[in-house]
């Protein structure tokens, strides 16, 4: 009995070459009925009983072109014994679309993967076994050019035709459910082996291929309903649903079977990462980068503009202009004082640091856009894992360099409860953008020639995080194993100018908005409280409400080197917004434009209240102590319990106090030749206590199993 095999494939897939090789001179050429499209048929050279029908080259089995219509009609009506699908391996994705549609016909399909030599030259490999597995149909590698694989192709096709098991490519469960329902509705209307084909055609609303089906009104109504429901589920038209599903399947198949040589070659990003995320070089490189950024923005480039803004803009231009305006309007004296000595002094002090902060934002935006910042989480994972956290905990801290509120909220991504709590507790140790003016003030005013002071503020935060993590992980309440951490590293790329400027602009605008709202209101309050006494009489600031309240708490900070009421008050106002520390100084010290200069004027104003060591102690305290009210609110929301919120705030204030205490007590002895006192001895005790909490053994046993514990259990120990 003669056997009929159909040869189907994309144009230029090598189908005709294969046909010519298989049939040789045993060909007959004619036209398909009704069209001028050539029809070729030939007998296999090796076996005259096998007829090969060369169908027109098509890209898909849609009902639009004559070639497609002819192919569909031949396959469905004539039902050849098998389909030999010639696939161009160098354009696999495009060719597989037709392959999947051929599999839907319910006929046996064997794929002849052609042009494998071209695939190899392009540095790719196709795993034919995996493609076989993915499609559920045999795949034979051939080369029409070299005349290889064709014998195996025919023998596999003959075998497949004899042992066909009707496997179809599977789509998503929702689509499969719809197709199953349509098949159920069709019942005996169509042959069983073609039920899926017709279900798909009906689903696609292919009238050309389904008009001959004699469906009852009930069947039509049911099928219409099924399609409508499925369209709602997918929120797409039915034909688009199928196209998407086919391409998703193709995408999965390509991932399964296609290997690129470049998968094993290092890209430029990989080469850079070999250095940047190197086990030994990563942290020093990170430290160097952050030092460079802070040095550039706060101590060199940014300082130039800040001096002008403080000296000229808010020191002369704005106050003089506003004063003249207020006087010309006949504004009352107290209102003038409120505006000039309160609002302008306070807000101007904060805005004076805008140039430095802008440069810092610009540098951070460049790092983020080029892809380096995402590496930091990966680098930190290695370090964090040593004390029980993972790189996942570093991501909130990275966000907190902008603002502590989203940084704390980002801890929600951490599944482990203990790790999440610990992350929330230490996240705000990172200097946020609001703390930058404090860093800039101290670095610029007290250490103008030192390049290490501004970057050291960042490293104080990092050190506090690492050491706190080590110590807190050893407690019973927060102990446990670190969670696994997987992240995709984006490729490095040149920073996009537009992205960098947009990011910087958004952050700068946010900074200005905050200065014009929260800082402004705080400045009004601070001015009032520093200008009036409890009887609401205008008095010198040393006799004011603020001074009285400040003197109540100032003794607490004597051990830290700044036990005067102005420093104490500034730290307290920092709870509203950290920038308030600067605005408070701006109001209380008057001519704040001098505070950012390098020179003798600095000493004339503040040397009564701060020595350099005390200033650094003040910096450390404000960096590490409780964050602003907004961040405290975020901490409370994430912790969910008042107890944990209080523990967090208490821990942060306690650590800040301890660190500032150590800095001042040891710093004054080493750098200012202060005598040894009881404070120094206490500092030694505090230092040993801190070291103990870091190095002590964990308070809970490791409950996880490893080979050693399993061996011990086996031995009955």
């Amino acid at each position: 009995m003669e056997r009929q095999f159909a040869l189907v494939g994309n144009p230029n897939s090598g189908k005709t070459s294969v046909f010519n090789l298989l049939t040789g001179a045993n060909q007959s050429v004619g036209n398909w009925p009704g069209v001028t499209i050539e029809r070729k048929c030939g007998r296999l050279k090796e076996d005259n009983k096998i007829n090969i029908h060369d169908l027109p080259g098509i890209y898909s089995m849609s009902p639009y072109t004559p070639e497609e219509v002819i192919t569909q009609e031949y396959l469905i009506k004539n039902k050849p014994e098998a389909i030999i699908n010639i696939v161009d391996g160098s354009h696999l994705e495009r060719n597989l679309y037709l392959t999947i549609q051929l599999l839907e016909t319910g006929l046996p399909v064997v794929i002849g993967m052609n042009m494998m030599d071209v695939v190899k030259k392009s540095g790719r490999k196709i795993n034919l076994d995996k493609l076989n597995y993915g499609l559920g149909t045999p795949v034979v590698g051939i080369s029409a050019l070299k005349n290889t694989g064709l014998t195996q192709l025919i023998s596999t096709t003959a075998k497949e035709a004899a042992n066909f098991s009707h496997e179809y490519p599977e789509y998503s469960p929702q689509l499969e459910a719809a197709l199953s329902e349509i098949i159920g509705v069709l019942g005996n209307t169509v042959p069983k082996e073609q039920a899926r084909w017709y279900a798909i055609k009906l689903f696609e609303k292919d009238a050309l291929n389904t008009k001959h089906l004699k469906l009852s009104p009930f069947q039509e109504k049911e099928i219409t309903e099924i399609i409508k429901i499925t369209e709602k589920v997918f929120d797409e038209e039915s034909d688009a649903i199928l196209v998407n599903e086919r391409y998703e399947l193709i995408s999965r198949l390509i991932s399964l079977c296609m290997i690129q040589d470049s998968d094993f070659k290092l890209s430029m990003s990989d080469k850079v990462d070999r250095i940047v995320t190197n086990r030994y070089l990563a942290l020093p490189i990170f430290a160097l980068v952050m030092w460079g950024i802070y040095y550039l923005s706060i101590q060199t480039v940014g300082t130039m503009a800040t001096d002008w803004v403080n000296d000229r803009l808010f020191g002369e231009i704005v106050p003089v202009f506003v004063e003249n305006l207020l006087v010309s309007w006949g504004v009352a004296g107290w209102m003038q004082a409120l505006i000039l000595d309160g609002i302008i002094a306070g807000v101007g002090a904060v805005l004076g640091f805008l140039p430095q902060i802008t440069v810092l934002f610009l540098c951070l935006a460049i790092l983020e856009d080029c892809g380096y910042m995402s590496r930091i989480a990966f680098v930190m994972d290695r370090l964090f894992r040593k004390f029980g956290l993972s790189g996942k905990s570093f991501i909130p801290m990275l966000i907190a360099t902008g603002c502590g509120v989203p940084g704390v909220m980002a801890s929600r991504t951490i599944e482990n409860e203990n790790d999440r709590r610990l992350t929330v507790m230490v996240t705000t140790f990172m200097p946020c953008s609001a703390k930058l003016p404090i860093i800039a003030l101290i670095a610029g005013a007290f250490f103008p020639n030192s390049s290490w002071v501004a970057p050291s503020a960042y490293f104080i935060g990092m050190t506090a995080i690492v050491l706190s993590g080590i110590a807190l992980k050893k407690t019973q309440a927060l102990g446990g194993k670190p969670a696994p951490f997987i992240m995709e590293l984006p490729s490095y790329h040149l920073p996009q100018i537009k992205n960098i400027f947009m990011q910087t602009w958004n952050r700068v605008i946010a900074f200005i908005k905050k200065a014009g709202t929260i800082i402004l209101v705080s400045s009004i309050l601070i001015w009032f409280m520093s200008s009036y006494n409890f009887s609401l009489q205008e008095v010198p600031e040393d006799s004011s409400i603020l001074a009285a309240l400040g003197r109540l708490i100032a003794p607490l900070f004597s051990a830290l080197g700044w036990g005067h009421w102005k420093g104490a008050v500034a730290s307290i106002t920092g709870l509203v917004a950290k920038e308030n520390v600067i605005s408070t100084f701006g109001i209380l010290y008057g001519n704040l434009e001098s505070l950012s200069e390098n020179g003798q004027e600095v000493w004339n104003i503040v040397q009564h209240d701060f020595s350099p060591v005390a200033a650094y102690s003040f910096l450390a305290f404000n960096l590490l102590c409780a964050p602003c009210f907004a961040a405290i609110g975020a901490i409370h929301r994430e912790m969910g319990q008042v107890k944990w919120t209080l523990i967090t705030i208490g821990y942060q204030c306690g650590l800040a106090y301890a660190v500032s205490f150590l800095i001042y007590q040891f710093g004054s002895v080493i750098f200012e030749q202060a005598p040894l006192t009881f404070g120094t001895l206490t500092a030694v005790v505090v230092l040993f206590l801190l070291i103990y909490f870091v190095v002590r053994k964990p308070s809970q046993k490791d409950s996880s199993f490893n080979m050693d514990t399993l061996t011990l259990i086996e031995e009955g120990k």
């Binding site: 207020l326 504004v331 409120l338 603002c403 509120v405 905050k514 929260i518 209101v521 009004i524």
Partner: protein, 44 residues
Amino acid sequence: MATIILGIFIFGFSGWVIYRQFKGNGSCDACNLDCNIKQKQDKS
């Protein structure tokens, strides 16, 4: 007169800032992330 006008403006503005802080939107000004809270705020 100028004092009164300035007073109304300054204290009115301060009251609005404090109100926004209590309503919870104030902290969004400090944050540069385009989250759904900020999007809702921008829409309203």
